[in-house]
């Protein structure tokens, strides 16, 4: 074990290098950086209708017949339309109560880029069923649309339908499908489905929405800046309950602004992301210094609560971006998202404590470990803070809304209120930190002295 501990830093470094994101493909080639597909899904009687518009440039691998400099040969296009419709049925999968549906009927059409019938389902379906372009029309092979109408037999129109877009999976999130679901009863829903999103329910049950948003909230915690902040927050302490209380204070503050942001307009404030970067960076620097000089669990309530308030706005924006998948269950989803975040914070805390335990017992020793780790994290925080200040300054120089400042200020004061609660906690939530390298410097939480 001692040998393993000796090599642990090297192993960790190699593992970190392996986990680093690799440079993605460039936007080169003939494909634009964003490719938008449009569609409608409508159950009707014993049929489910998928009406979809796909840019021709996505179908170049199917080799459409051409004439002249590169115009589609509309005289010989019929066979190709059938092949493209079959490929569409394979690449956009539809499900009824979990069972994959198979299209039994299809119609297709070539359209010019200026064609506008996809503003609505009826006009789009009528367009595909209507007259084709005159065969003399010059449609350049990568400048138009392929429009298809697929019909799927179903058991029941009010069933639970789901969609899985697998068009050109290698392009990932460069591909987006704007799809409108038109149920037999109830309101229609519009989704922006990005490549690689997996199977998505078009009218999710409450438990499906809850599961999805718990997972989303859970995953959102594990961003690099949040993890660095957490590590710096907990580094000099081993008191699980006391740290859990601090993290829950952070999560509580975060939940307040997350909810406010999700139901209000705070997520539209342009300078909040830059403020968050600056605050996290500054907080990491302060905590790093505090870790070395005189760490206090109670002061961390303030730090955690304030960072939580600002971080909640960012999470609120994430929730707003994904709210489309909540269906009719916005409140359940919002609550689930918060639960996911809280679970994520708790798990991240436990992982951090385990990792720090290994680091301090096997590699560096506790006191030296706190200093080294704080120095490394503080250095990272310093750069984040400087970058954040530049971004913030640039954003603020273009105008500042007084209402936005007041709104954020109000929530920061709420964070201070949460932080102030630390003064009224019982003793088990305090506790002394790991002893410093230089004896006599750490003050800890001497609650009885004041």
């Amino acid at each position: 074990m001692r040998r393993l501990g000796h090599h642990l830093p090297s192993v960790a470094l190699v593992a970190a290098l392996l986990l680093l994101p690799r440079p993605g493909h460039t936007n080169g080639g003939d494909l634009p950086p964003q490719i938008l597909l449009e569609g409608f899904v409508k159950p009707e009687g014993d049929r489910l209708h998928l009406v979809v518009r796909i840019p021709l440039i996505l179908l170049q691998n199917l080799n459409p017949p051409k004439r002249g400099p590169g115009y589609l040969d509309l005289v010989r296009i019929d066979k190709w339309l059938n092949e493209a419709a079959a490929a569409t049925g394979r690449d956009i999968e539809l499900f009824e109560d979990g069972d994959r549906l198979v299209p039994t009927r299809s119609a297709a059409q070539i359209s010019l880029p200026s064609e506008r019938s996809f503003d609505g389902y009826a006009s789009a379906a009528a367009h595909i069923a209507g007259r084709r372009l005159p065969v003399s029309t010059d449609v350049f092979w990568n400048q138009g649309y392929f429009d298809a109408h697929l019909e799927y037999p179903i058991r029941s129109a009010p069933a639970d339908f789901a969609i899985h877009m697998k068009v050109e999976p290698g392009l990932g999130q460069r591909i987006k499908l704007h799809v409108q679901y038109l149920p037999v009863s109830g309101v229609s829903r519009t989704y922006e489905i990005r490549g690689g999103s997996g199977r998505l329910s078009l009218d999710p049950r409450w438990y499906e929405a809850a599961r999805m948003f718990v997972m989303l909230g859970f995953g959102s915690v594990f961003a690099t800046d949040r993890l660095v902040f957490l590590l710096c927050l907990v580094a000099p302490f081993r008191q699980v309950w006391g740290l859990l209380a601090v993290v829950m204070a952070l999560t509580g503050s975060q939940a307040m602004t997350l909810i406010a942001s999700a139901v209000g307009t705070a997520h539209e404030i342009r300078w909040l992301p830059a403020l968050f970067d600056t605050c996290v960076g500054a907080a990491v620097v302060l905590l790093a210094v505090d870790n070395v000089v005189a760490p206090s669990l109670h002061r961390r309530w303030f730090t955690g609560a304030l960072v939580g308030v600002i971080g909640g706005f960012g999470l609120g924006r994430l929730f707003v971006d994904e709210r489309q998948f909540a269906g009719a269950h916005t409140l359940v989803s919002l609550a689930s998202f918060n639960v996911g975040v809280a679970l994520g914070e708790a798990v991240a805390l436990l992982l951090a404590l385990v990792a720090l335990g290994v680091l301090f017992t096997r590699v560096l020793g506790a006191s030296l470990g706190v200093v080294v780790l704080s120095a490394v994290l503080g250095h990272m925080g310093w750069h984040w803070m400087i970058d954040g200040v530049h971004r913030l300054g640039r954003t603020l120089s273009t105008g500042l809304s007084t209402s936005a400042v007041a709104s954020v200020g109000w929530w920061l004061l709420m964070g201070l209120l949460v932080g102030g609660a630390a003064w009224f906690l019982p003793t088990p939530f305090g506790g002394a930190p790991i002893p410093p390298l230089i004896p006599g410097r750490a003050r800890g939480d001497r609650r009885d002295s004041d």
Binding site: N27, D30, P32, P33, Q34, P69, G70, L112, P113, S114, D138, F140, N142, Q143, G144, T265, E268, R270, S397, T398, G399, S401, T402, S403, A406, S407, G409, W410, L413, M414, L416, L417, G420, W423, F424, D450
Partner: protein, 427 residues
């Protein structure tokens, strides 16, 4: 100390309540969102576009257009690069005009950079170069080189106008005179070219050096700019540096449909108007010119009207699509030289309240009320720094309200200005 804690908490609660009550006042939160005659503010994005690949450098930016997918197209002039700017290739390249006296050739590179870029370039909103093709500097694009060959496809001598219609066809023009190069000679830019987005040549209207003047319905003469009525399949041309008219073509066949001059009358020196065109210098104190001056520099279709820049006359004339004159706006009328009204882009609000107008003589972008012509704001100043201009030539606006500009003379650059305030830009 316990008392201090309670005082702290009490103060916090009071401040919170005060702020909460203040928030409840109607209109406070919406103070910045109301409809306004105040134009949006624009802030230069110094990081746009990103560095070009292949050691490429652009020359003067003759034209700029935003397509329906919010990509930005420019047409630039590689033959305006100087000896030091094109330092990585022998100079002058064989396609450069032969000067009098001839430039002493340099057969080897003189520096690390640069190589003249192809004339047509497409960028996305983040500044990535998506495509580059066209013109004599294009040595790579197969579609362009395989399909654009004289005499059916005559690349202009001096690249000027670009427009991308809703069907993604790319329309190009030039304003150059006849040119002799080491590889051949070509007449004046009296033609318009139509390409597919990948550079495949589709159609040419007119022929180099063939224009017979303002009454010629087959050729144009050094056309400056375009607009396309997608529903009617009509191409509106600001024609231009040689002629003094607006002419409309069928986008499918290239056949001329109608043309008119200033005030909707037949242009000077044409079959319907035998009066000779004005040749003297513009004078602010003289009566308004009955004809367009050289050049008729821009044309924009906005709200079913046709806006035309009569650049040196310091005015914008507005027409119906059939050519009937509607009104004119005189702006910065003391501007001499190259004039004040160079290019137009309408604001993106529903009513298209503003026209953003470039002035390459005074080097500003004006915000003008579209219905009255009143200038209510401006940005930019003569200079070389980010956000300043030297001979700002063209501009266009994307669906997010972001403005893109191009400069000529020694400006030779494109810039991006992000809208703040009225038009959120959340990418």
């Amino acid at each position: 100390m316990k008392l201090a804690r309670y005082v702290y908490l009490a103060l916090l609660v009071i401040v919170l309540l005060a702020l909460g009550v203040w928030q409840l006042f109607p209109g406070q939160a919406d103070a910045d969102r109301g409809e306004s005659k105040v134009p949006p503010r624009f802030v230069v994005d110094p990081d746009w576009p990103k560095q070009l690949p292949n050691n490429w450098l652009i020359g003067q930016v003759g034209g700029l257009a935003v397509d329906s997918h919010n990509n930005i197209w420019i047409i630039q002039r590689p033959r305006t690069l100087t000896n030091d700017e094109a330092g990585a290739v022998p100079y002058p390249p064989p396609y450069f005009p032969i000067t009098t006296p001839p430039t002493t050739p340099r057969l080897t590179p003189r520096s690390d950079c640069c190589v003249p870029a192809p004339s047509v370039m497409q960028f996305d909103r983040k500044g990535n170069l998506l495509r580059a093709w066209g013109g004599p500097a294009d040595t790579q694009n197969n579609a362009y080189n395989a399909t654009c060959k004289a005499p059916s496809c005559q690349w202009p001598n001096t690249e000027h106008g670009i427009y991308v219609d809703k069907d993604d066809n790319v329309w190009l023009s030039g304003n150059g005179g006849a040119v002799v190069t080491a590889t051949g000679a070509q007449g004046r830019d009296d033609q318009i070219l139509k390409f597919a987005t990948d550079g495949t040549f589709l159609m040419q209207i007119g022929k180099a050096g063939a224009s017979t003047g303002n009454g010629d319905t087959v050729n144009v003469r050094q056309p400056a700019d375009f607009g396309v009525d997608d529903e009617a399949h009509e191409l509106y041309v600001a024609d231009g540096y040689g002629n003094k008219r607006v002419i409309v073509f069928d986008t499918k066949t290239g056949a001329a449909k109608r043309y008119w001059g200033a005030y909707g009358a037949p242009p000077c020196a044409s079959p319907g108007n035998t009066r000779a065109c004005v040749t003297g210098a513009y004078s602010p104190s003289a009566p308004p010119d009955p004809d367009f001056r050289n050049p008729v520099h821009c044309i924009r279709l906005v709200a079913d009207l046709v806006y035309v820049c009569d650049r040196v006359n310091d005015r914008i004339q507005v027409f119906k699509k059939n050519g009937d004159f509607v009104q004119e706006f005189f702006e910065k009328t003391n501007t001499l030289g190259n004039g004040s009204m160079w290019d137009i882009a309408p604001s993106i609000d529903r009513r298209q309240t503003f026209l953003h107008v470039t002035d390459g003589e005074n080097n500003h972008v004006y915000h003008m009320l579209r219905l009255t012509g009143e200038i209510v704001g401006q940005f930019g100043h003569n200079g070389r720094n980010a956000g300043q201009f030297h001979w700002i030539h063209v501009l266009d606006i994307d669906a997010h309200g972001t403005i893109y500009t191009g400069e000529v003379d020694t400006g030779k650059r494109v810039q991006r200005f992000v809208s703040e305030g009225n038009s959120p830009d959340r990418d």
